[in-house]
C-alpha cells in the first residue's frame, strides 16, 4: 500500500493510499471548522443542502440517477465531530473500473461530482434554493429529535452534554434543535462562501490509482476553490481534571424497561503528551476487549448486563463507559464499573491479561489496512492531531506497552460525571 500526501492548495491536502486489493475505492472530502454551539447546526446542514443538487444535476433525483449509472457509486454527506473540530463533507464509495464493463472512468466522474457539490450548487440569484434549505432544516430537526430513539447513544450524548456543559465538546456534530430552527437560506449561502474560503480541507483517497494522479485530477476539478484567509486556530481544549472534586450525577426519565448507565472520565495526566498506542491498550484492558475487566466482571461474572463497553476520544482526552442494565441495578453496576478501574490503578493486571490486551489492540490496528473506510477514519483523525503514524506502526507500539504504563494511565484518570437514563416513576 503506497502512502502519498500532498498539499493541493493552501491548507487543502490529499492523503492517498494506492492498493489493488479492493473492488471498491473510497474518496472523502472534509472541511474542518471549529465546533461551536452557535454554528454547529447551520454548518451541519450544509453538506445536505449541497447534496440536493448542482448546476448540472439540479435535483436529488438527477444526482442519484447519475450515481446509479456509475454502477451504484455512493456520495453521501458526512458530518462528524473530531474532538472539538467539526468535519463537514462527503464520503464516496465506488467500484474500481477494472471490474466494470467498458472501463467507464468512475473515479474521474466521482471527483468531478464531489467538486461540483462543493463549488457549483444549484442556486437561484446566487442564493441556495430556499425550498432545499427549508426541507433539509426540517430533516435536521427530525434527526436531532431521533437521537433519543437510540437509547445507548442518547445516554452517552446526555452524559457528555452534562459533563462538558461549559466546553464546546458538549455540542453534537449536528448542533442543537434551537440553533437548527434558525437556519435560513440567505445566511446559509453567505456562511457557506465564507466557510469554503477560510477553512482547511482534507481529501482522502484509497484505491488503485497512484496518489500523484489523483492529486492532479483533484487540482483540476477544484481549480475554482476560493482560498482566503485560513482559520489556523482549529483545535481541541483538553481538560485534564474532573470539573469538581467529586463526580457529578445526572439522570433523566424515559418510558423504558431497561436502564442505560453512562459514566464519563477525564483521562488526566496522560493527555499532557498523549501516547495513543498506550491509551488504546488501556481502553482495551478496562472495557473494550472481550478480555477486559468490564466484560469479564460486570457481564460474565455478575451477569449485570449484556452490553458493557468503554471508549476513548483521544482528541479530547475523555473516556466513557456504557452499560444497559436492570432499572434497579444502578448502584451495583456503577460500583463494579468504578471498582474495576481501581483494580487497574492498584496494578492488578496479570501477565495473561497484559499479553491478551496487547495482542487484541495490535490485531485491531493491523486489520485497518484491509478496510477502506477504517483507513479513512484512521487517517483523518491522525491528520487532525498533526500525526502521520500508520496503523501498522501504531500496532507495533501497542505490542510493547508495559504494565507500569497502564497503571500510570489509570492513576491519572478521574471520574467526572455519571448519567442514568432510567424508567418513568410508576406513581
Amino acid at each position: 500500500m503506497e502512502y502519498y500526501r500532498e498539499e493541493l492548495f493552501p491548507f487543502v491536502s490529499l492523503t492517498a493510499l494506492q492498493t489493488d486489493k479492493f473492488k471498491s475505492g473510497c474518496l472523502s472530502a472534509t472541511l474542518l471548522t471549529q465546533l461551536d454551539r452557535e454554528t454547529a447546526a447551520e454548518y451541519a446542514v450544509l453538506p445536505y443542502v449541497l447534496r440536493r443538487g448542482t448546476t448540472s444535476l439540479p435535483d436529488m433525483r438527477a444526482f442519484s440517477a447519475r450515481l446509479d449509472g456509475l454502477y451504484g457509486a455512493v456520495i453521501e454527506p458526512r458530518v462528524r465531530k473530531l474532538g472539538e473540530i467539526q468535519g463537514l463533507g462527503f464520503i464516496s464509495r465506488f467500484s474500481e473500473d477494472r471490474y466494470l464493463p467498458g472501463n467507464p472512468g468512475v473515479l474521474e466522474e466521482v471527483i468531478r461530482l464531489t467538486a461540483d457539490l462543493w463549488l457549483s450548487p444549484n442556486t437561484r440569484g446566487g442564493l441556495f434554493q430556499s425550498a432545499y434549505v427549508d426541507s433539509e432544516r426540517q430533516k435536521l430537526l427530525e434527526r436531532l429529535a431521533a437521537m433519543r430513539n437510540d437509547r445507548q447513544g442518547w445516554a452517552l450524548r446526555r452524559l457528555v452534554e452534562n459533563m462538558c456543559a461549559f466546553e464546546p465538546y458538549a455540542v453534537s456534530a449536528y448542533g442543537s434543535e434551537e440553533e437548527a430552527e434558525a437556519i435560513h437560506y440567505v445566511k446559509l449561502t453567505k456562511d457557506y462562501r465564507t466557510l469554503l474560503a477560510s477553512s482547511p480541507m482534507e481529501f482522502f483517497y484509497c484505491g488503485s490509482q497512484p496518489g500523484p494522479r489523483v492529486a492532479d485530477m483533484l487540482r483540476e476539478a477544484l481549480m475554482l476553490l476560493p482560498r482566503g484567509e485560513i482559520d489556523l486556530e482549529l483545535g481541541t481544549d483538553v481538560r485534564l481534571n474532573a470539573v469538581e472534586a467529586q463526580p457529578r450525577f445526572f439522570s433523566e426519565e424515559m418510558n423504558l424497561t431497561q436502564g442505560n448507565l453512562a459514566v464519563g472520565f477525564r483521562l488526566g495526566e496522560c493527555m499532557e503528551d498523549p501516547d495513543e498506542a498506550a491509551i488504546r491498550v488501556f481502553n482495551g484492558l478496562y472495557g473494550e476487549d472481550l478480555n477486559s475487566k468490564l466484560f469479564l466482571n460486570v457481564r460474565e461474572k455478575q451477569s449485570l448486563c449484556y452490553d458493557v463497553i468503554s471508549s476513548v476520544d483521544i482528541l479530547k482526552g475523555i473516556m466513557t463507559v456504557y452499560a444497559g442494565i436492570d432499572l434497579d441495578k444502578y448502584q451495583p453496576a456503577l460500583d463494579e464499573i468504578l471498582h474495576q478501574l481501581d483494580l487497574i490503578r492498584e496494578g492488578e493486571i496479570t501477565e495473561e491479561e497484559l499479553t491478551a490486551v496487547r495482542n487484541f489492540t495490535a490485531a485491531k490496528l493491523r486489520s485497518v489496512p484491509d478496510d477502506c473506510l477504517a483507513l479513512e477514519r484512521f487517517y483523518l483523525r491522525q491528520t487532525v492531531q498533526g500525526l502521520d503514524a500508520s496503523p501498522l506502526e501504531m500496532a507495533a507500539l501497542a505490542e510493547s506497552v508495559t504494565r507500569d504504563r497502564l497503571v500510570e494511565i489509570a492513576r491519572g484518570v478521574e471520574t467526572d460525571a455519571v448519567f442514568f437514563l432510567k424508567g418513568e416513576d410508576e406513581e
Binding site: 486489493k21 473492488k23 471498491s24 435535483d59 436529488m60 433525483r61 442519484s64 450515481l67 446509479d68 449509472g69 456509475l70 454502477y71 451504484g72 457509486a73 464509495r93 465506488f94 467500484s95 471490474y99 466494470l100 426541507s135 430533516k139 427530525e142 429529535a145 431521533a146 437521537m147 433519543r148 430513539n149 437509547r151 424515559m254 418510558n255 423504558l256 424497561t257 431497561q258 476487549d289 472481550l290 478480555n291 469479564l296 457481564r299 460474565e300 455478575q302 451477569s303 449485570l304 448486563c305 449484556y306 452490553d307 444497559g324 436492570d326 495473561e352 499479553t355 491478551a356 495482542n359 487484541f360 495490535a362 490485531a363 493491523r366 486489520s367 489496512p369 484491509d370 478496510d371 477502506c372
Partner: protein, 424 residues
C-alpha cells in the same frame, strides 16, 4: 475440491464437501492480512419443533439463541471468547430465525484460530450453574430489543404478516420462555442441529483451502449425521394476518415498517432470482433515483433512513420497506398508487438499466466486506446458490419480471404496515 474462477470479479473460490457432510467455501483473498471464518448451522430461532427418530419434539422459545451464548463455555472453566481474544482474534456470533453463526476475525495465527472456532462450536459443555448465570445477561439483551424502536417495529410487522410461522417471533424469546431452558435441552438441540451435515464453514482469507479442509476434517466428527425435519406449521397464505398494527413507545416520530410475504421458490437459483427481482423492482419503485422517492422526500414523508430489503429466512421470503415518517399511511398509499401507474404504463427500460448497474456495484462492494460476504455465502449455501449465480442473474433479470413482481405483490391486500408511534 472445486476451484471456481471469476476473472471478471477478480475472485477465486474453493468449494468442497467433507465426507462428514460439511460444506466448506473458501474465498481466496490475496494480499489481505485480515482473515475471517464463519461456522454456521442451519438452526435458528424459528426451529422450535422438529422430528427426531420419527418423534416430534417441542422446545422452548429462545433455545437456539441461548445455545449460541453458552457454546462459548468450555470444560475446565475455559471460555472460547477469552481464549481467542487473548491471541488477538475477535470472536463473535449471532442468531437469526434461520441460522446461528459463529465467526472469528484475526490478522495472525489463522489456522490456530480456525481450530479453536471449530472446537468450541462442536464441544457442548453446560452446567446448571452456567446456564442459570446466562439468564441475567440474555434477559438484558431481550430488554435491549424491547426498548429499541426498530426491533419492535420489525417484529410487530412480522407478527402482522405471518399467521403462525415462527419467524413472526423474535429469536431470543422472553424472560419467561428462557427460564425453562435446561442443560439437557441445550445438549439435545446441539446434538440434533450442530452436526457438520447441517452446517457450512465459510472462510474469507489469504489461506490454503486444503489446509482449512484438513483442519475441519481433524477437529469435527467423521461420520455424516441426519439433517432434522422441522415443522413451521401449515403453509402461509400470501396475505397478511393483519393489515395494520400500531404500538406506542418513547420515540420522536412515527417509525413505519411495511412488509410483504412472498412464497419462496424451492430451487435455490429460482429463489435467488425471486429475491434479486424483488430488490431491483423495489429500487426502481422507491430507490433514491425514483420519482416516488423524490416526491415523498420533498413532501417530508420520508428521509435518508428509508430503506428496502428482501430477506430469506427459515423457509420464508419477506419484503421489507421502511423508515421514519410523519404519515406512514400516506407512504403506503403512494406506494400502491405508483404500482398502479407502473401496471398501466410499464417500466422505463433506461431507468431499470440504471438500477441494474447500481445493483451490480453494490454486490461488488460486498466482496470487500468480509463479514457481510460470509453471511451472504452462508445463506447461499443453505438456500442453494453461489456468488457466480448472483452476478449472472443480475444480468439476466428483465424489466418485465420486475413489473410482474410489483403488480402481483405490492398491492393493498398483500402489504402490512407496522407503526411505532410516539406516546401521547
Amino acid at each position: 475440491m472445486t476451484r471456481l474462477d471469476y476473472p471478471a470479479l477478480g475472485e477465486v473460490i474453493f468449494d468442497s464437501v467433507l465426507p462428514n457432510g460439511l460444506r466448506i467455501i473458501t474465498v481466496r483473498k490475496k494480499g489481505f492480512r485480515k482473515a475471517f471464518a464463519m461456522y454456521a448451522t442451519r438452526y435458528g430461532g424459528a426451529d422450535r419443533r422438529f422430528q427426531l427418530d420419527g418423534e416430534w419434539i417441542d422446545t422452548p422459545w429462545g433455545v437456539a439463541h441461548y445455545l449460541e451464548h453458552k457454546l462459548f463455555d468450555m470444560p475446565e472453566d475455559n471460555n472460547a471468547l477469552a481464549d481467542l481474544s487473548a491471541r488477538g482474534a475477535d470472536p463473535n456470533a449471532f442468531t437469526s430465525n434461520g441460522m446461528t453463526a459463529y465467526h472469528v476475525t484475526c490478522t495472525d495465527d489463522f489456522y490456530e484460530n480456525l481450530r479453536s472456532l471449530l472446537t468450541f462450536v462442536s464441544t457442548p459443555y453446560f452446567t446448571p450453574e452456567s446456564v442459570a448465570k446466562e439468564q441475567g445477561i440474555i434477559g438484558q439483551e431481550i430488554l435491549m430489543g424491547e426498548n429499541a424502536p426498530g426491533y419492535v417495529a420489525y417484529f410487530e410487522l412480522m407478527k402482522a404478516l405471518y399467521a403462525h410461522h415462527p419467524v413472526r417471533d423474535n429469536e431470543a424469546g422472553t424472560l419467561e420462555s428462557i427460564a425453562q431452558i435446561t442443560p439437557e435441552i441445550l445438549y439435545h438441540c446441539h446434538k440434533v442441529f450442530y452436526h457438520p451435515s447441517n452446517m457450512v464453514l465459510v472462510c474469507v482469507c489469504d489461506a490454503d483451502p486444503e489446509q482449512i479442509a484438513a483442519i475441519a476434517g481433524e477437529v469435527l466428527p467423521s461420520e455424516p449425521g441426519a439433517v432434522p425435519v422441522r415443522d413451521y406449521g401449515e403453509p402461509e397464505t400470501p396475505f397478511p394476518l393483519e393489515r395494520r398494527v400500531e404500538k406506542a413507545m418513547a420515540v420522536s416520530a412515527p417509525l413505519a415498517y411495511m412488509g410483504i410475504k412472498l412464497t419462496p421458490a424451492k430451487d435455490g437459483k429460482a429463489l435467488l432470482r425471486q429475491q434479486l427481482t424483488a430488490e431491483l423492482a423495489l429500487d426502481y419503485l422507491i430507490g433514491p433515483s425514483s420519482a416516488l422517492y423524490a416526491e415523498l422526500y420533498d413532501k417530508g414523508l420520508l428521509g435518508r433512513d428509508f430503506g428496502t430489503d428482501v430477506d430469506s429466512s427459515a423457509g420464508t421470503l419477506t419484503v421489507l420497506l421502511g423508515g421514519e415518517s410523519k404519515d406512514p399511511d400516506a407512504v403506503m398509499a403512494a406506494l400502491t398508487d405508483r404500482v398502479g401507474l407502473i401496471a398501466r404504463r410499464g417500466i422505463d427500460p433506461a431507468s431499470f438499466e440504471r438500477c441494474r448497474r447500481a445493483g451490480y456495484g453494490r454486490a461488488l462492494d460486498r466482496l470487500d466486506r468480509f463479514y457481510s460476504y460470509a453471511c451472504m455465502l452462508s445463506q447461499g449455501a443453505f438456500d442453494g446458490w453461489g456468488v457466480g449465480d448472483l452476478f449472472e442473474l443480475l444480468k439476466e433479470i428483465t424489466p418485465e419480471e420486475a413489473a410482474d413482481f410489483l403488480c402481483e405483490a405490492v398491492t393493498p391486500d398483500r402489504l402490512a404496515l407496522s407503526v411505532v408511534r410516539p406516546e401521547r
